[in-house]
Symmetry: C2
Subunit: 189 residues, 2 copies
């Protein structure tokens, strides 16, 4: 189909998601409404509902895109878990709207098929980084526990960085600071 402004179907969907990212970066997910989104994108009222059903549907699509982007960022960083940890923080800083929505499952439909598949791809990328750790470490018998610890430390650093709560001495390079933090949990393999 071609809709308002002659968008093709997939293009309009992408344009609406990109506009939603801008609204969330400015004002957070609570401020988002499908009607306002249509107005900002210059399309008919009905277009966002046609593509996403409702606000939860839109945020489900946005979170699924986020998990896909995260999976790409993690696998693109290579096999080393420390490099993947730095890539996690870098993803959060570069895609803060996605990152915020992904970890607010109360705002979307966490059981939607597209969301489950994307989340599993991101989880697998984290777990395969843990599987590449050297054998001799103290907790080698519990890779799921290792993965949860790795997730916690990079998620915590990213969250503190984005909140503006860190002291100035941490510096202004999130990748370098994240590497120093994550290095304490899993030294470079």
């Amino acid at each position: 189909m071609t809709g308002t402004r002659g968008y093709h179907h997939g293009d309009l969907r992408r344009a609406l998601l990109a506009e939603a990212v801008r609204v969330i970066e400015e004002s957070g997910p609570a401020a988002l409404s499908l009607r306002d989104l249509a107005r900002r994108a210059g399309v008919s009222h009905a277009a966002p509902a046609h593509h996403f059903g409702d606000k939860a549907g839109l945020l489900t699509a946005l979170a699924a895109d986020g998990f896909d982007l995260l999976a790409e960022a993690l696998t693109g960083a290579g096999d080393d878990l420390l490099d993947r940890g730095v890539a996690y923080v870098d993803f959060a800083v570069r895609h803060r709207a996605h990152f915020e929505v992904m970890f607010r499952p109360d705002l979307y439909r966490p059981d939607a098929a597209e969301l489950v598949a994307a989340r599993e791809r991101a989880g697998a990328a984290l777990h395969s980084g843990v599987a590449a750790l050297p054998e001799g470490r103290p907790t080698a018998e519990d890779p799921q526990g290792d993965a949860l610890a790795a997730w916690s430390i990079v998620h915590g650093f990213a969250t503190l960085w984005l909140s503006g709560a860190l002291p100035a001495r941490v510096g202004d390079d999130p990748r370098a600071a994240a590497r120093a933090v994550a290095h304490r949990l899993f030294p470079k393999t």
Copy 2:
């Protein structure tokens, strides 16, 4: 002074903060308004403004209370850093409204004297746990880096726990799960 319903000054202030915690637990900090708070607490419109000035003033007081409660929880857990890490997560779970506001410095006045003092008490409690670590660990030369890593891992675990994003296999006891995670960073001293 005695205000509406005969509250004494400090009691009314505490009652308004307690009501604010309930609103934030139900609907998040964006939903909070001083007018609604006055209505819910059964006091005059003017009472919240008299005590806190504006919404940012109320959230500054709430965040300062949160950092004080956190400092108490950390020091009450003893000298061991792992025990203090578990206490951090336990604090976040039991005081989720405070925890959410504390790490949203965009919502309050982070330079307010009461806030700075309370935040420094909480930071000192975290750092003194790091100072109690054994000498032989690999990163003994950088206790601030150790403290940031410890903060990141417990903050990340607490944030993931509260968001509902963790898989079911993590279980339903946040203290036990937090201990297993934080143990990987700093084994029991």
